[in-house]
């Protein structure tokens, strides 16, 4: 059976692959959306922190023998801790200023992080093996799906949905959302808002690092791996609606699917399709698909 001239089997294969890419977009835009939602800061260093996650995993494997599974837990904590440090020492002082300064600060940090790693490691990219249990492929009939990629989809879905659940459906999430709207009032109720803000930033950064560890076995671990993906992620967050968690997740996976389709029918455009979509969304619904006018 053929759909638009492509055998349906091939089409499903491409969509499945698109979903895998979408997992990364979703994880990354989730982190960005969380940070933006609470801090009103665009974390330009998100891509660099994603790269940090991959590199810490690579280094801990090669220098300390720490395997993938431990890295998956340890690396986000480590990188998240650096995020906490950044927030406490630098970002905090910028809250009373124009939010654009936060963007510029994180941009500068991204340059530093990427520059240091490029200096140390060059640009070639390091290999990182996927864990033993996931090597090999599932034979799905219409395609061979590497086991590791299936794992990626499952994990991202779990992480994204749990995060959404925590923020939208639990008490902690309610405090977070309240603090976004009216921090002084929430503080008056006895909630330590500054600490919550710090930890939220740390969590967002940890999410980026987590995505980095997940990415290490698939893409080469290279200092510039975060630099170009970050702009796509920005576009995803703009399309999804800047403050909306579900918007970021859905748009992330959605973009993966759209990109997958584009690669089949018109591959040359797959790099730009997100920006074209962003332009259209901006013309029709400036607040983003799921966002509210702020």
């Amino acid at each position: 059976m053929e759909i638009f001239g492509i055998p349906s089997q091939a089409l499903f294969g491409q969509l499945l692959i698109g979903l895998i890419n979408g997992s990364f977009y979703a994880l990354l835009s989730l982190g960005l959306a969380v940070i933006f939602g609470l801090l009103n800061i665009i974390n330009f260093s998100h891509g660099a922190q994603y790269m940090l996650g991959a590199f810490v995993a690579y280094l801990s494997l090669n220098k300390l023998g720490i395997n993938y599974w431990v890295s998956l837990l340890l690396t986000p904590l480590l990188v998240g801790a650096t995020g906490v440090l950044i927030e406490k020492t630098m970002l905090k002082r910028l809250y009373k200023l124009d939010h654009l300064y936060g963007l510029l600060l994180t941009f500068g940090l991204a340059l530093i992080i990427q520059g240091v790693f490029r200096h140390e490691f060059g640009s070639s990219g390091m290999p990182y093996p996927s864990p033993e249990v996931f090597q090999g492929v599932f034979n799905l009939g219409f395609m061979f799906l590497p086991k590791y990629r299936a794992w990626v989809i499952v994990v991202s879905l779990v992480v994204c949905l749990s995060t959404w659940f925590v923020i939208e459906r639990t008490k902690l999430g309610a405090y977070l959302r309240a603090a976004t709207e009216n921090p002084s009032l929430v503080q008056a109720f006895g909630i330590n808002v500054p600490r919550m803000v710090t930890l939220t930033y740390g969590f967002g950064v940890a999410l980026a690092a987590f995505a980095g560890v997940m990415a290490a076995p698939i893409y080469q671990v290279s200092p510039m791996m975060g630099a170009d993906i970050i702009i796509v992620v920005f576009a995803v967050v703009v399309v999804g609606g800047m403050g909306s968690i579900m918007g970021a997740i859905l748009t992330g996976f959605g973009l993966g699917l759209v990109e997958g389709l584009t690669k089949v029918f018109y591959p040359e455009a797959s790099n730009t399709v997100i920006f074209v979509i962003m332009t259209i969304v901006l013309l029709l619904k400036p607040a983003g698909l799921f966002g509210t006018q702020k």
């Binding site: 091939a10 491409q14 698109g18 890419n21």
Partner: protein, 404 residues
């Protein structure tokens, strides 16, 4: 900063008083090594090229007892044409550089070739791939060493088709270089009786090739030609492995792959890959001896084809300077074409009228992990392409210097 890349005056090693008869501008032959020191090509060129140039000067002066004073400077063009042309102009105009060597990234190579011609200096390129440097963009002040796209397309394409890989599917990076590689290789494949069963243009640059690789797999072509370079190539190879493409019986043909790329991929992922290079460290006793010295000076990293090109081209350049008794770019270029070349890395060869250096090329296959005895032991030789067949024949050249 581990290494200081500014002027290494080799003159200190040979402080002979005055160099008498030679008309060397301000008494020093100054060579500028311009390449990518921090980006995509830093392992293939970068620091290593400066090391190679230094070794070439030492070896030449020791062997020929020449009285030349030679100085080497290095700079990073960061893969940006404007930075590269800026450095070249400044070097030529204010810092008395006589010859610029290396220069990867074809767009920059072309720019330097033009600037060198405009200023009557000399550019000996080992790093760029574009065959246009000895083709329609050729000039009397540019010499193209090591390799070019024609050789790659012809070497890899022809040799593979002849050895049974006669159906091809191309994964082409969607930009000028990728198109050129694809076009040249396709022509060779067809000419030798092969068939191209499909092609897909991948946006440049791309991290994820899975969707394109699936298409290649579905095409059932025996050979998947990777008409891309750098990160795109390593990513496509890595992911092809992940999707079990090579296990399914298809072979990958890397149209622009260097030894350091294979090193960063690991044999597990790259095994079975077919590629063409004009130099490999393990070819013979002399290349092995050179490699041992080079690696010691280069942090243990083995030389790439470009490093070898820089070494070989600098030696021949100095030979020509001594023979022509001047460091005037145009005159030395003519001399380089006049003198036959002979060095430990590329053997005997010549530099043609169009500036193209001729030497044999080799088709390699990447070993399986079990076949390798240690790091960098990656290639097995499949066939040798003799020098007179390896590069585009003069009769097909569109270089205006070639009289038809």
């Amino acid at each position: 900063m581990k290494r200081n890349l500014i002027s290494l005056a080799v003159a200190a090693a040979c402080a002979f008083a005055g160099s008498a008869q030679a008309q060397i501008s301000d008494g020093i032959v100054k060579i500028g090594v311009l390449n990518d020191m921090s980006g995509l090509y830093s392992d293939i060129t970068g620091q290593g090229s400066v090391v190679a140039a230094r070794m070439a000067v030492e070896d030449y002066i020791r062997a020929s007892k020449s009285t030349l004073k030679v100085e080497i400077v290095g700079a990073d063009h960061q893969n940006k044409p404007d930075v590269g042309s800026n450095v070249a102009r400044q070097w030529y105009d204010t810092e008395k550089v006589d010859m610029i060597a290396d220069v990867p990234t074809s767009s920059i190579g072309l720019a330097i070739a033009k600037i060198s011609a405009d200023k009557g200096k000399l550019h000996v390129n080992s790093g760029s791939a574009t065959a246009d440097l000895s083709g329609k963009a050729c000039n009397a002040n540019t010499i193209h060493w090591a390799y070019d796209t024609w050789m790659l397309a012809n070497g890899t394409g022809k040799a593979i088709v002849k050895s049974g890989g006669d159906t091809w599917f191309f994964l082409t990076a969607d930009y000028a270089f990728g198109h050129a590689l694809e076009r040249d290789t396709e022509a060779v494949v067809l000419k030798n009786g092969g068939k191209v069963v499909g092609k897909v243009r991948t946006p440049f640059p791309t991290q994820d090739f899975s969707s394109f690789l699936l298409q290649a797999q579905a095409s059932k072509a025996k050979i998947i030609g990777l008409a891309n370079a750098g990160g795109d190539t390593t990513n496509s190879i890595k992911q092809a492995f992940e999707f079990g493409i090579t296990k399914g019986g298809q072979n990958l043909a890397g149209l622009l792959v260097f030894l350091p790329d294979v090193h960063s991929l690991s044999l597990e992922k790259a095994q079975g890959l077919m590629l063409t290079e004009t130099f490999y460290w393990d070819l013979n006793e002399q290349t092995r001896a050179f490699t041992k010295r080079f690696a010691a000076a280069n942090g243990g990293k083995y030389p790439s084809m470009v490093h070898a090109g820089v070494y070989s081209s600098v030696i021949h350049y100095l030979k020509a300077v001594d023979a022509a008794k001047t460091d005037d770019g145009t005159k030395v270029a003519a001399k380089m074409k006049e003198l036959p070349t002979d060095d430990v890395l590329f053997g005997k060869g010549t530099v043609r009228a169009d500036g193209r250096k001729i030497h044999p090329a080799y088709l390699f296959e990447v070993k399986k992990p079990s076949e390798s005895k240690g790091p960098y032991d990656y290639y097995k030789l499949v066939s040798t392409i003799p020098a007179n067949e390896a590069f585009r024949p003069l009769s097909e050249s569109d270089c205006p210097l070639v009289k038809k």
